[in-house]
C-alpha cells in the first residue's frame, strides 16, 4: 500500500493505471512464490501431520472405530437385542394424528395388565380428558382410587377419593418395594418409555410379542425370561399378553398383537402428548415458510433485474 500510494503520487496521471497494474502483477507473483516455498517447508509438513493425526483421533473418539478396517468383537450381536421391525403405525406420516380409539384401548390394557408392576407417574387423570375419555369417565376412574391428602385441622393426613388433578397411582410405594416385589428387577416407569428406548413404539411392540423359547445353547437363569429384542436376551418380565386377556368395550378382538399395538400407541401418546398439535403446527409452518421463501425469491429477482440487465459503456475522453 505504501509503495503504491507513493508511486501514484510521483507518477504522472496518464501512467498511473499501468503502474498500479504492474504493482499488482508483481505482488501476485511474489505471493505465489511464497506459497510454493511454504508448501515445501517443515512447518507445512508438521501442521499437515498434526491435522491428520488430530482428525483420526477425533473420529475414533466420536465413533469408536475407524472406517474400512475390520474389527473382531468378543460380544455377539444378540447382546444388543434384535432390531425391532418398523411397523406401519397409523400415526407415522407427517400429517397423521394418533388413533384415539387405539389410545383408549391401550389405556385399558395398561390399567388392567401393565399397571400391576409399572407406574405411569407423569400422566394425570386430567390428561386423559378429551384424548381417550370424557371428563365424567376420567372423574369416575379417579374416584375409584384413594389418595393421601392433608394435613387436616388436627394435623393428620387422611385419605380421599381421587380428583382429575391427581396423577395415576403407582403400584409400589418406592423403588425398593418395586425391586423386592420383582426379584430384584425394577419395572421402569412407562411415562417416557417410548422416548427412552431405541426403536420407540416399534421396540415395545416387538418386545411384547417377541417372547420365544431360548435357542439351543442359551441358558436363562431361574426367574428370568428370554426375549431376543431385549438387549442381553434375558429380562425379568415374563410374557404377559395372551389372546383374550382383556375385553375391549368396542368389541375389537383382544388378540396378543392387538393389545400390544394398542398399549404401544397409548404409551407413545403418554410420551408425546403434544404429538397431534405439533404435527398440525408443523404443516402450518411449512406452508407459511415456503410461501415467504417464494416471495423472497421474487423480491430478490425483482430488485436485481436492474443490476443484472444493465450495460455499461466506456466512453473514452477525446483529446
Amino acid at each position: 500500500m505504501l509503495f503504491q500510494s507513493a508511486a501514484a503520487r510521483s507518477i504522472p496521471r496518464v501512467l498511473r493505471s499501468s503502474a498500479s497494474a504492474q504493482a499488482r502483477a508483481f505482488s501476485s507473483t511474489s505471493s505465489s512464490a511464497a506459497f510454493q516455498s511454504f508448501l515445501g517447508s517443515r512447518t507445512a509438513l508438521v501442521s499437515a501431520s498434526a491435522l491428520t493425526a488430530g482428525s483420526v483421533a477425533w473420529y475414533t473418539h466420536l465413533y469408536g472405530s475407524l472406517p474400512f478396517i475390520g474389527e473382531v468383537h468378543a460380544s455377539a450381536a444378540s447382546d444388543h437385542g434384535l432390531h425391532p421391525t418398523s411397523y406401519p403405525w397409523s400415526h407415522n406420516g407427517l400429517m397423521d394424528s394418533f388413533d384415539h380409539s387405539s389410545i383408549r384401548r391401550g389405556y385399558q390394557v395398561y390399567r388392567e395388565v401393565c399397571s400391576a408392576c409399572h407406574s405411569l407417574d407423569r400422566i394425570a387423570w386430567r390428561n386423559l380428558v378429551a384424548v381417550s375419555h370424557t371428563a365424567d369417565e376420567a372423574r369416575a376412574m379417579a374416584e375409584e382410587v384413594e389418595y393421601d391428602d392433608g394435613p387436616n385441622d388436627e394435623g393428620e393426613m387422611f385419605k380421599r377419593p381421587g380428583k382429575l388433578a391427581d396423577y395415576l397411582p403407582a403400584p409400589y410405594a418406592n423403588e425398593e418395594a418395586a425391586r423386592a416385589g420383582n426379584a430384584g428387577a425394577l419395572p421402569p416407569d412407562l411415562s417416557l418409555i417410548v422416548k427412552a428406548r431405541h426403536g420407540g413404539a416399534d421396540y415395545l411392540f416387538s418386545l411384547l410379542t417377541g417372547y420365544v423359547d431360548p435357542p439351543a445353547g442359551v441358558e436363562i437363569r431361574e426367574g428370568l425370561n428370554y426375549n431376543p429384542y431385549f438387549p442381553g436376551g434375558a429380562l425379568g418380565m415374563a410374557r404377559v399378553l395372551f389372546d383374550g386377556l382383556v375385553e375391549y368395550e368396542d368389541g375389537t378382538p383382544a388378540t396378543t398383537s392387538q393389545m400390544a399395538k394398542d398399549v404401544s400407541v397409548f404409551l407413545h401418546w403418554a410420551a408425546e402428548p403434544e404429538h397431534d398439535e405439533r404435527k398440525k403446527i408443523g404443516v402450518k409452518a411449512v406452508i407459511l415458510m415456503s410461501t415467504v421463501f417464494l416471495i423472497s425469491v421474487y423480491v430478490k429477482k425483482f430488485k436485481w433485474t436492474v443490476i443484472k440487465n444493465r450495460k455499461i459503456f466506456y466512453d473514452p475522453p477525446k483529446h
Partner: protein, 67 residues
C-alpha cells in the same frame, strides 16, 4: 392503473389506515388460515381423533368440558 390508485387511496395514503389494515389483516389471516388447515387436517385424519369418537362415550346430561 385504476386498481393501484384505488388501493393507494384506500390503504396506503394514511399511515393510520395502513397500520390498522396490517393488524386487522394479520388477525383475519391467522383465523382463516387456521380454519383452512384444520379442515384439511380433520379430513385427512377422519375417524381417528377424539372429536370423531367422542359421541360414543358422552352421556346425556354429562359435563361438556371434554370437547
Amino acid at each position: 392503473m385504476a386498481f393501484s390508485t384505488t388501493i393507494y387511496n384506500a390503504v396506503f395514503r394514511r399511515n393510520s389506515v395502513y397500520v390498522s389494515t396490517i393488524f386487522v389483516g394479520a388477525f383475519g389471516f391467522a383465523v382463516g388460515y387456521d380454519k383452512a388447515v384444520t379442515a384439511v387436517w380433520d379430513r385427512w385424519n377422519a375417524g381417528k381423533q377424539w372429536k370423531d369418537i367422542r359421541h360414543k362415550y358422552v352421556t346425556e346430561g354429562g359435563s361438556e368440558d371434554d370437547e
